[in-house]
Symmetry: C2
Subunit: 341 residues, 2 copies
Amino acid sequence: MSVQQRPPESGSRVTIGDVARHAGVSPTTVSHVLSGKRLVGSATRERVAEAIEELGYRPNSAARQLRTKRSCAVAVLVPDLTNPFYSALTRGLADAVGGSEYGTYVCNTDGSLERERMFLHDVLDRGADGIVMASSANMPKERDLTPTRFGPPVVCIGEDYLELDADFVTTADRVGARAATAHLLARGTTRVAMIQGPPDGGVQRTLGYVDALNAAGHEPDPALQVHGDWTRPSGREAMRTLMAQRPRPDAVFCANDLMAIGAMDVIHELRLRVPDDVALVGFDDVDAATIVTPALTTVRNPAYDIGHEAGQLLLSRMRGEYSGPSRTVSLKCPLVERESG
Amino acid sequence: MSVQQRPPESGSRVTIGDVARHAGVSPTTVSHVLSGKRLVGSATRERVAEAIEELGYRPNSAARQLRTKRSCAVAVLVPDLTNPFYSALTRGLADAVGGSEYGTYVCNTDGSLERERMFLHDVLDRGADGIVMASSANMPKERDLTPTRFGPPVVCIGEDYLELDADFVTTADRVGARAATAHLLARGTTRVAMIQGPPDGGVQRTLGYVDALNAAGHEPDPALQVHGDWTRPSGREAMRTLMAQRPRPDAVFCANDLMAIGAMDVIHELRLRVPDDVALVGFDDVDAATIVTPALTTVRNPAYDIGHEAGQLLLSRMRGEYSGPSRTVSLKCPLVERESG
């Protein structure tokens, strides 16, 4: 099968006028056939259909957009699509709105507020029907939605520290972290440490850890709480600090999976066993959690569901089914029991 | 910081007429200020600028698109954005065209030719300036580009079995597979097996394996070639078949990393050592390759670069810098030496 050579000027486009000439009818007749709103004789309809087929005519979406004031596209701003969390979120959004004929337009901000603002202007210019801001999940305190104030509905991902006037989708990190820590305590462990995120990140996960200790009558010990920077090497470093203590911890809750995998590296280096000597639980449920040995018990961060929920919130506003005050939807983060703890 | 409540009817949009009324000038004057093509007094210009600012006016991209016949967007069709290969490819494309002000529109086809065709029609309707088809990498033989024949430039990802009239970006899989196998032979191994893809997939990788054996004077042994289906469990199953042979293989080249990780599972189960008893090399360089122990030696499948190159090919046509016959760009797949082989 071969494809006809495209014309040298790739911008050239078959118009209704071309179809009309080819079919030997007026452009108005072609419009009537296309819209289906006026009665057109079947022979004429057939001639127009043939001309459309032969010339490869397509209705012009820009013209339709001017008439309907809808671009039938939503935009999502993410830091980096190659981060599995954000690709899953984007897929969830696309699936939620795609069934309703909205396309998905993606912008990678690399966590830069300047790029976020630039893309925000860009997608507003394009007439996006809805916007999902998953771009600066770790810095909502700096977010500025001013550019969107006369525009389409916006859904933000993350905690709403600023009480912005936008819908939010967030996750019940504190509840998930509490369940993870309680799970470690239920093993009979007595010195449950935590490898935390950086001092300004993942605070809800730390609070959940403290909640569980308090509920079990344990005093949270500052010496058993060490910061990492979300990376595997930082998890190793934090774990070495923890394992130098006497008595050493017998369980560690890690604020994300990558740091938990770094902690597992150290336990193996020390020729100790997971979970018998030290039990481990992570947070996020990345693919790597099932690749390490033993497989990592963790708390699932439901990226796909977050995107899907954001899509539902947008749809309800884009369709005019909801025009009330801002809503925040919080999704549960379930514990996924595997082998490490 | 708070954001003003958006109007209940989210489709409403500030027009040039609104700006003109607010500034007390004619709509034509506003157009002149916006286009910058006619001289307008500085006091008037300032009044118009203030009105634009206060009302949150944005130029209408649909109207601009009708005038310029450009949507300033490229579309990429991928099977599934949550597959790291395709998210990296999409990011490479977005980075290549983003610097030139083209946005990126993403469609997940789930490998269905019907969905591919539906999305193709959709993005043509939207007036995409360029299209990247990475949607059915494993089935280009069924691809049909007919819908695009009067449309924008198209770049396909993968091998051009059909001599379609489109630009292609492909990878030198055969060369990469040959290097991987030669690397195993250079260790002094004498029975190098291969876990291959399904019979109709990854043929170039099998050819590269055979090339290396022939070059080293080894007769390729059919008993040392077993098929998998790209998954980790299928890698385990294939490896059990291989390890049941006497003498058993002392090295295995796997057509992708996931099957190599399955093979590694079996070597560990048998209490053998990687690479001393059996050396392993994979293909793709997924994140998991550095998470397994020992870290997997593999051949890098340059997903990001493939997307970036596709973007460059599109740009050259979209800008009218190139309008010649179809081109195929083949990217090298370098060997990444780690610990497994």
